[in-house]
Symmetry: C2
Subunit: 305 residues, 2 copies
């Protein structure tokens, strides 16, 4: 096999009480990539469709992660990467993570799978770092499917948490720009001990609810008392969207990544669709353009097409 076509999905990181720790993987929105083994050594980005992104390998997240792997394995061949970008950069649903993980996933397949998921995640975070300015693993980790908990970054340890079958996400992406620097600067460096305890109780309960398929407990656990009060200020109509979702029966809503996308988790596709309609209404009244997606939780992660 000298060529592989893959689907690299969008992901949601910072799941309410799981800031910097928890992520999950989407099914119905993602990039497509073709990775090709070629004689000429090196990594070359040969095609980019959908969005305007750099072709220079060292400036492209898919290129940087590919190089990180390439330098470790130093194979007797090179790779070309075609990117059919469908996840908008800067949307907060892991656009750069999809590119960064997609290239190394594809290369790994073509090379006969020399690396495991954790090693691939490590290469991919090198690409992510180009986009984010620091190595964060939560979006990348989620690309391996379902719910993932980043136990630690050094050394990288990612846990796959089971989740109920009938869990869906509705994601709205209001097309505004939030600068990464701004979304980081708005966060406090210190938090109240009492808030940290509340958040820990929620996170522990959320993990327990995922293990026990307990939607009711999930609903009680999807609360963020630490990050949301700050970052929500950067997203127009945030609480209107959230309340509309909760009113339609969403289990919980929160900021996806560092925004501006807002996710809602729902039991069943009917509720997820109702939530879609309700939150569409909120943004339809504004002049802000938006995309909206309904997706089952993708337990498989990146897949070969």
């Amino acid at each position: 096999m000298n060529e592989i076509k893959i689907f690299s999905p969008a992901t949601v990181a910072n799941v309410a009480c799981g800031f910097d720790v928890l992520g999950f993987c989407l099914d119905s929105v993602g990039d497509e990539m073709v990775i090709r083994k070629v004689e000429k050594k090196g990594i070359k980005i040969t095609k980019i469709k959908g969005f305007d992104l750099p072709f220079e390998t060292e400036l492209n997240v898919a290129g940087v992660s590919a190089l990180a792997m390439y330098e470790v394995i130093n194979p007797d061949c090179g790779f070309e990467i075609d990117i059919y970008k469908k996840i908008k950069p800067g949307s907060g649903i892991g656009s750069s993570a999809a590119s960064a993980a997609g290239s190394v996933f594809g290369m790994n397949e073509l090379l006969g799978r020399p690396f495991n998921k954790t090693e691939l995640t490590q290469f991919a975070t090198k690409g992510e770092a180009l986009a984010n300015g620091c190595e964060v693993a939560d979006n990348v980790a989620a690309l391996f499917g379902g719910f993932t908990l980043v136990k630690s970054i050094q050394p990288l340890e990612v846990l796959q948490i089971p989740s109920p079958n009938n869990l869906y996400a509705t994601i709205i992406h209001p097309q505004i720009e939030i600068k990464t620097s701004e979304s980081r600067a708005i966060l406090p460096t210190q938090v109240k001990l009492s808030d940290a305890i509340t958040q820990m109780a929620n996170l522990g309960s959320l993990v327990h609810s995922l293990h026990t398929n307990n939607y009711k407990l999930m609903q009680k656990s999807l609360h963020d008392v630490i990050i949301e009060p700050h970052r929500s200020k950067l997203i127009p109509h945030y609480y209107e969207v959230k309340n509309a979702a909760l009113n339609e029966g969403a289990l919980g809503s929160g900021i996806s990544g560092s925004g501006p996308s807002v996710f809602s988790l729902c039991e069943g596709i009917e509720t997820a669709n109702k939530v879609r309609d309700a939150i569409s209404k909120v943004y339809s009244k504004t002049r802000i353009e938006f995309d909206i997606h309904v997706s089952k939780i993708n337990t498989e992660g990146i897949k070969i097409l």
Copy 2:
């Protein structure tokens, strides 16, 4: 049935990364209590053996919790309570919680179980409040067996987390006095966001490890970066004890409750016994007297004898 004899075990709260949230129940150390239905209305403490505690119902934690239940149900009888106290007050292994929960558990049995575990925990926290100055539910919750996570206090919601069969605890109680006021005053009111994230990752992982019987992950998760650096100062030779336990293969060690007891969790009784011997050595070199207990995790909680 007019009389019941029960065993009300010791418990460990604030399990490393689970400050104010997580607790577990011990098997081999606990109080015995006899609760008796009598004609004369009211609650009377009729016997206290082992330690010098107040006989006045309103000043005794077992009395206060019993009164809280009694006032709700207003039965056509009264209750007498005999307390055979074996858990030293102030040891940090839930001495007051055992008394507070024991009386209401026994009364509930004699009345035909009108209340569920959550309701009993609520009554018992009234007794705990007398000892602690505030309503904390983690020790009381743990009295219903196994590992428990206090999801919230208002309204009270306690989750029972499964745990592996072969899990043991070794507890050392150095006989020094730590004033509750001091152990509270030493805590910061603010914590670093980065520390809160580390602690959350650890707690989430610990819950996952308990669900998946993953001892190795449990070992990596039993770390406390928020409370231990402060409260450990109140316990002489704390890090010597901890290191001795970890060297013998303990999965993790931490301060039990607000101290001075120190717990270690171990896979298997052999390791738990080795840990007991190693930490005994540490305190044997000092002039501080100590008790030491090895116990299986008690999944049953309070039991009828």
